[in-house]
C-alpha cells in the first residue's frame, strides 16, 4: 500500500469521526422536528448552555453571580466546592429537563397549530434568549471542560499502524476524544432507538410524530410527549455540548455548530434519525476528503463551504434528503 493511499484512509477515518460530532447536533433537531414540526434553531445554543452549566456546576460557580454582586454589592463568585463530573452531569440533565418543560409551557404550548415559520421565529428568539441567560448565569469567558475525557492522538493506534505503507509512514493519527465521542454517539443512538421502539413512552412519542388526532384518541397527552421530546433533545444537546466543549473549549461560538447541522439535515432528511447519522458521516468524510484531494489545487479552506454546496446540490435534486419522507401534497 502506498503512503498516499494510507493517508487517504486516515482522512476518511477522521472525517467519519468529525461526522459523528455533526450528527450529534443534527440528532437533536430531528427529535423535535419529527414530534412537533418545529425546526429548533436553538439546538446549538442548548448544547452551549448545557456545556456552560456543566462547567459551572463542576467548578462550584454561583449562578447569576455578576447580577447578584451588582445588585447587592457582594463579592461572591464560587461556593467553594467542586462537584464530581458524574454528579454534575446529572444536575445539568435536571436543568435541561426543567428547560424543556419551561420552553413548552411558556412558549410552544401557546403556538400549537401555528405556521412553521412562526414556530421557527420563536426558536430564533429562544436561541438568543438562552444565549443571554447562559451569559448572565455563568459569565462569558472561555472555559475548559475537564470531565476526564482523554485528549490528543492515540499512540496505540499510531504504533499499531506505523510502517504499514513502508518506513516513511508513521501510522494513523486518530484523536482519542473523537474515538470516545464515536463510542458515546453509538451508545446514545442505540439507547434512543431502543427507547422509541420498545417503551410505552417511545411508542407514544412515535404516535404523536405520526398523527396528533389519532394519538389523542388513544389517550396520549400531547403536552407530556412534547416536554419529553424537548427533554430528550436537551439530553442530546448535553452530550453534544460535552463533546464539542471538550474538543474546542466551552465558548459562545459553540452555538454556531447549529449551522453545521443544517447541511447534515438537508442530506439526511429532517425526520430521520438514521438520516442524521448518515448525513453527518457523509459531510464529515466529504469535507475532509475534498480538502485533502481538491483543496490544495484551489487554495484550501474548503471545509468552510463544502457542506453547504453539497446541501445545495441535494436541495435541487432530492429536497426531502436521503431518508426523509417524500412530501406529497394532495390536491
Amino acid at each position: 500500500m502506498s503512503a498516499d493511499f494510507l493517508y487517504g484512509i486516515e482522512v476518511v477515518i477522521n472525517g467519519l469521526m468529525a461526522g459523528v460530532m455533526y450528527a450529534l447536533v443534527a440528532l437533536g433537531f430531528v427529535l423535535i422536528f419529527k414530534a412537533s414540526g418545529i425546526f429548533n434553531y436553538a439546538q446549538g445554543v442548548m448544547a452551549l448552555f448545557a456545556a456552560l452549566t456543566l462547567v459551572g456546576v463542576m467548578e462550584g460557580q454561583v449562578p447569576f453571580s455578576h447580577l447578584i454582586n451588582a445588585v447587592f454589592g457582594t463579592e461572591i463568585h464560587h461556593f467553594g466546592w467542586t462537584v464530581p463530573a458524574f454528579a454534575a452531569i446529572l444536575v445539568t440533565l435536571g436543568v435541561m429537563i426543567f428547560f424543556a418543560w419551561a420552553v413548552h409551557t411558556f412558549v410552544f404550548r401557546h403556538l400549537v397549530g401555528q405556521e412553521p415559520i412562526i414556530l421557527f421565529m420563536a426558536t430564533i428568539g429562544l436561541a438568543y434568549f438562552l444565549e443571554g441567560v447562559g451569559d448572565l448565569m455563568w459569565g462569558s469567558d472561555i472555559k475548559t471542560l475537564a470531565v476526564g475525557l482523554p485528549q490528543g492522538g492515540s499512540l496505540f493506534v499510531e504504533d499499531l499502524t506505523a510502517g504499514l505503507g513502508g518506513d516513511d509512514f508513521y501510522g494513523f493519527f486518530i484523536d482519542k476524544l473523537d474515538m470516545v465521542a464515536t463510542l458515546v454517539a453509538i451508545v446514545l443512538v442505540a439507547a434512543l432507538i431502543g427507547f422509541a421502539q420498545y417503551t410505552k413512552q417511545g411508542r407514544a412519542m412515535r404516535a404523536v410524530a405520526d398523527d396528533h388526532q389519532a394519538a389523542l384518541s388513544v389517550g396520549i397527552s400531547l403536552n407530556y410527549i412534547w416536554v419529553l421530546v424537548w427533554s430528550l433533545a436537551g439530553l442530546v444537546a448535553l452530550v453534544a455540548g460535552v463533546m464539542w466543549g471538550a474538543k474546542s473549549g466551552v465558548q459562545f461560538s459553540l452555538s454556531l455548530i447549529a449551522l453545521k447541522a443544517l447541511p447534515v439535515l438537508m442530506l439526511g432528511g429532517f425526520t430521520s434519525i438514521p438520516g442524521a447519522i448518515v448525513g453527518g458521516l457523509i459531510i464529515g468524510v466529504g469535507e475532509k476528503l475534498f480538502e485533502y484531494m481538491i483543496g490544495p489545487m484551489i487554495g484550501g479552506a474548503t471545509e468552510n463551504w463544502f457542506a453547504y454546496v453539497l446541501a445545495l446540490i441535494f436541495l435541487v435534486f432530492r429536497p426531502q434528503g436521503l431518508f426523509g419522507e417524500k412530501i406529497i401534497e394532495r390536491v
Binding site: K200, Q201, R203, R206, D210, Q213, L216, S217, G219
Partner: protein, 272 residues
C-alpha cells in the same frame, strides 16, 4: 318499555342496562353557525346506538363532543352517573371511551401490531424509568398487553398483516386495524364514525358482523354513525336521527323508519 331506566332483554337475548352516557341539551357553535342545536339523547349499557342523518346534519360533531374533541357551548355530558367536566380527548380516552375516525387516523409509519399496541397505552402503568430499563414489572406488563393485542388480532382476523406497515394496506383493512386499535383499549364505550364508509358489500357485511360480535362477546357499548340505512337498521338497537343540527327522531329502527320527519329529511318534502 325502553323509556324506563331498568334493564331489559332484547329479542336476541342481550341485556341492555341503564343509561351510560347522557347528553343533555347539547348546543355546539362554530362562530355563528350552530352545528348542534339543543340535542338530548342517551346511550345505554350494552346497546348499539346509531346516529344517522343527511350530510352536514352534525353527526360527526356530536361524536366529537362525546370524545372530547369539541366542547359544546351549552349542555351537559353525563357519563356513568357523573357530570363530566370539559375534558381533553386524551382524558376522555383514559375514561374508557375509544373511537375511530371517518377519514381513518392510523399511525401510517408504524406496523399493524404497533398501531394496535398504542391502543393499550391507557392500560400501561409502569413508570418511565422502569420502562426505559425494561425491568420486571414493565416486562410483565408488555407481555400481558401483547397477549391482549393478539386476542384482538385473532378476533378481527388480521393475523396475516400483523407486521405490515399500515401505509401499505388497502382501505378496508385500514378500517379494520383502526377498529382493532380502539378495541385494544377494552373500552366501555366504542364510538365509530362511519365504520363502513367507502366499503364494498362484502366488507360491509364483515364489518357489521365484527360490530355485532364485539357488542355480544365483550359486552361493549357501541355508538356509531353510518350512512348505509340498511346496515343501521339491521344492527342497531336504537337510532337517533339528526338533520341540520336538530334531533328529528329517536327510537327503535322500526319507530324511526315510520317517523314522518325522518322520511321528509331523507326523501325531501314536496312543496305544494
Amino acid at each position: 318499555m325502553k323509556d324506563t331506566v331498568d334493564s331489559y332483554v332484547t329479542d336476541d337475548g342481550r341485556t341492555i342496562g341503564g343509561v351510560m352516557m347522557d347528553m343533555r341539551g347539547i348546543t355546539l357553535r362554530f362562530g355563528g353557525v350552530e352545528a348542534i342545536k339543543d340535542i338530548s339523547f342517551d346511550i345505554r349499557e350494552g346497546e348499539i346506538r346509531a346516529i344517522i342523518g343527511p350530510n352536514g346534519a352534525g353527526k360527526s360533531s356530536m361524536l366529537n363532543v362525546i370524545s372530547g374533541f369539541y366542547h359544546p357551548q351549552e349542555g351537559e355530558v353525563w357519563f356513568r352517573g357523573e357530570k363530566r367536566p370539559p375534558m381533553k380527548p386524551y382524558q376522555v380516552a383514559r375514561q374508557g371511551i375509544a373511537r375511530t375516525f371517518q377519514n381513518i387516523a392510523l399511525f401510517e409509519g408504524m406496523s399493524v401490531l404497533d398501531n394496535i399496541m398504542t391502543g393499550r397505552l391507557t392500560h400501561m402503568k409502569s413508570g418511565m424509568l422502569a420502562q426505559a430499563l425494561w425491568m420486571g414489572k414493565a416486562e410483565r406488563e408488555e407481555t400481558e398487553n401483547r397477549e391482549a393485542v393478539e386476542r384482538i388480532i385473532d378476533f378481527l382476523e388480521i393475523q396475516a398483516i400483523r407486521k405490515t406497515p399500515v401505509s401499505r394496506l388497502p382501505y378496508g383493512l385500514k378500517k379494520r386495524v383502526e377498529l382493532a386499535r380502539a378495541l385494544a383499549a377494552e373500552p366501555k364505550l366504542l364510538l365509530l364514525d362511519e365504520p363502513m364508509a367507502g366499503m364494498n358489500v362484502e366488507e360491509k357485511e364483515d364489518m357489521s358482523r365484527y360490530i355485532l360480535d364485539v357488542n355480544d362477546e365483550f359486552g361493549t357499548t357501541v355508538a356509531l354513525i353510518e350512512h348505509d340505512m340498511g346496515v343501521v337498521m339491521d344492527i342497531s338497537d336504537r337510532v337517533v336521527v339528526m338533520d341540520y343540527g336538530r334531533k328529528i327522531g329517536d327510537g327503535t329502527p322500526s319507530e324511526v323508519r315510520n317517523n314522518q320527519d325522518v322520511i321528509d329529511a331523507y326523501l325531501g318534502v314536496a312543496h305544494d
